[in-house]
């Protein structure tokens, strides 16, 4: 079987025609699938009238209006009133003045975006921490009813969020956790920790036990061996798991829309409610959506190698 993988003429190697056909079809699909994303970005750079023109405009003058509307609240004023104002200083002010609007303050978007960050980071840190130690426990020790516990952990992730939200809502109301970031962090941690345990167990299973055993023979305690031998070896896995948890917490909508309303509300339930002066302000929605998606795009690319593993709870390693 020598030099098998590099065979150029093997029968199982697809012919160049089939490769060509395949590549054309795949590229066409990939481009089509990108159209909505492309359109989100394009819309974010349009002015509101351009965004709702018919037929949809592909050629237009880009403007930052969408981003201005996203980050500020504005009111309509008479031209006479506008004339009394000092000249506009920022680009956004200029843009809004042209439409007889005045910026009255920052919008809620920044706050929601910040909430998203805090909740995503907080729950990720917590679930990765809990997941790592639990995964180590499951991977290395004899735990009674291990398979049942592992299944139980996984099944919690399968629960329909709406079904879980009812009692959580009641519980949080009693505990005063409604609409708090800490409440959301705990909730997302509970959802994420199952994925973290399953994924990290896979990663830790792959680290040979002999390393720790050698370390313990050299005088380390079990805990030291875990910290100094296992953790460094598992860094890649931990990072990959963290990104998965992060993406989930970042994208989550159902719990967020049901359990938060103000202070702790993250961006996903907020973005669909960006409404301009009458009707949806699509450029602002596009701007918010674009900003919201950028971290995910970056993470997807970083995570490419572990993606399969993540979505199958570690079952498919590749």
């Amino acid at each position: 079987m020598s030099a098998r993988s590099s065979t150029a003429h093997s029968v199982v190697e697809p012919s160049s025609t089939s490769k060509l056909v395949a590549s054309v079809l795949v590229v066409v699909y990939a481009l089509v699938t990108m159209i909505p994303l492309f359109w989100i970005v394009v819309t974010s750079l349009k002015s509101p009238p351009d965004s709702i023109s018919y037929p949809p405009k592909i050629v237009f003058t880009p403007t930052i209006e969408g981003y201005c509307n996203l980050f500020t609240n504005q009111t309509r004023q008479t031209p006479e009133f506008l004339a009394t104002l000092p000249p506009a200083t920022t680009a956004c002010e200029k843009v809004t003045r042209e439409r007889n609007m005045v910026i009255v303050g920052p919008s809620n978007f920044t706050k929601r975006f910040f909430n998203s960050l805090v909740i995503a980071f907080g729950s990720t840190a917590l679930s990765v921490f809990l997941g790592t130690i639990a995964a180590y426990g499951f991977s290395r020790f004899k735990v009674p009813l291990k398979d049942d516990l592992l299944f139980f952990i996984l099944s919690t992730r399968m629960m329909p969020p709406i079904a879980v939200a009812i009692p959580i809502y009641l519980m949080y109301r009693e505990l005063g956790l409604s609409d708090t970031k800490i409440g959301m962090i705990l909730l997302y941690t509970a959802v994420n920790v199952s994925l973290a345990v399953w994924l990290l167990k896979g990663f830790i299973d792959e680290i040979p036990r002999e390393y720790e055993e050698a370390a313990m023979i050299d005088g380390y305690t079990r805990l030291q061996a875990f910290r100094k031998v296992v953790l460094p070896q598992a860094t890649t896995g931990i990072v990959a798991t963290a990104i998965f948890c992060m993406i989930f917490a970042w994208n989550e909508y159902a719990f967020a829309v049901l359990l938060t309303s103000g202070d702790a509300q993250p961006a996903p339930p907020f973005i669909p409610t960006i409404i301009g002066e009458g009707g949806m302000d699509w450029p602002a929605v596009g701007a918010g959506t674009s900003l919201f998606l950028i971290p995910i795009l970056v993470f997807t690319i970083l995570l490419r190698k572990h993606l399969l593993r993540g979505i199958t709870f570690g079952a498919v390693r590749k």
Binding site: S10, V11, V12, L20, A22, S23, V26, A30, T33, I35, P36, I40, S53, Y54, P55, I133, A134, G137, R140, F141, L154, S155, M158, M159, P160, P161, I162, A163, V164, A165, I166, P167, L170, M171, A190, E213, I217, T221, R222, Q224, W250, N251, Y253, A254, V257, L258, A267, P268, P269, I271, G286, T289, L293, I296, R304, L308, I311, T312, A315, V316
Partner: protein, 320 residues
């Protein structure tokens, strides 16, 4: 787990050979203590945030409790909530909408996803790059992107109708994806398919890659035609993976909420009112907490059953 005996035995041996105090230092915490120490926090969290609420839901499901009337008297009403849910034609209709949605998304995603995986398995130049591009939609927030699809679906100003009209010549304002009774279910199916086909594709691709080349070579010398190789080798060998994807998508779409809520919120009429939307209306708009708890339990048991099958499939794939 047999391997853990070795260090255990070793530590024991070291421990017995040394004075007690020193032994404690050598051993540190016992393995058993560490195991519990490591696993318990996760378990406590899950018990507090998943199991305790679940038990609470079960209890509530036998009452007429309403979360928005804290002063009202709560009565136990036995199985009334369950019987009224399971005989309600409207909720049955919601289940059928869910079935329609689940069936078509899974069918489309499996067909397209498998085809894509099959094409990507040709390993043409740049296939890694294009795989990443194709995977992007599935990582995005269904809520945030689903919301934007509402814009794409606007009959006149939306890109979707315009593209369709560009290729078919149909007047773009002559049909409404979200508004029309016949098309609205498809508007959700299309978005879900756009979003989750990559998921199915990725798992199918793993399935295809799990088939060693020599199996195909064997089939080749056994004089199997390309067609027969596909049906007798490729499909059955990739099947556990396809099943995995189908089951997972089935579970996810059975409880689909965010995308539907943002695209149609159940409308027009109640044509796209899937189970989660009904549940949300009952629980958080009508505030019939007891009733919706019973409904939640029904959905939960269904999903739990499917999750059992899923984990079985997962272990099957894992053992490959």
């Amino acid at each position: 787990m047999t391997g853990s005996h070795i260090p255990d035995a070793l530590a024991n041996r070291l421990a017995t050979a040394t004075p007690p105090k020193l032994a404690a230092r050598v051993r540190g915490l016992s393995d058993k203590a560490i195991a519990w120490l490591f696993i318990t926090p996760t378990m406590i969290l899950l018990l507090a945030i998943n199991i305790f609420p679940l038990i609470w839901t079960i209890r509530l499901s036998f009452t007429n409790f309403r979360a928005n009337r804290t002063n009202a008297v709560v009565k136990g009403i036995g199985l009334d909530n369950y019987t009224s849910i399971l005989t309600d034609p409207d909720i049955w209709a919601a289940m059928q909408s869910t079935a329609h949605f689940v069936f078509w998304t899974i069918t489309l995603q499996t067909l397209i996803g498998f085809t894509l995986a099959y094409l990507l398995d040709r390993k043409f130049r740049g296939h890694g790059f294009w795989t990443t591009i194709i995977l992007i939609p599935m990582m995005l927030s269904p809520a945030v992107v689903g919301n934007f699809w509402r814009f794409l679906y606007q009959p006149q100003i939306g890109l979707f109708n315009y593209i369709i009209s560009f290729f078919t010549g149909v007047d773009p304002s002559s049909f409404e994806m979200i508004g029309s009774v016949t098309l609205a279910p498809w508007s959700i199916i299309i978005v879900d398919t756009w979003m989750w086909t990559p998921y199915v594709m990725l798992i199918c691709l793993a399935g295809l890659r799990s088939i060693p080349d020599y199996i195909y070579e064997a089939a080749e010398v056994d004089r199997a035609s390309t067609w027969r190789q596909f049906w007798s080798i490729t499909i059955p060998m990739a099947l556990p993976f396809i099943m995995l994807a189908v089951l997972f998508r089935g579970i996810e779409n059975f409880k689909m909420f965010d995308m539907v809520n943002l695209l149609t919120s159940g409308g027009p009429g109640s044509t796209t009112e899937v189970a989660s939307i009904t549940l949300k209306r009952e629980a958080f708009e009508k505030w019939r907490t007891g009733f919706s708890s019973a409904f939640a339990i029904i959905l939960f048991v269904t999903v739990f059953g499917l999750a059992n099958i899923y984990v079985k499939a997962l272990n099957q794939v894992k053992s490959r």
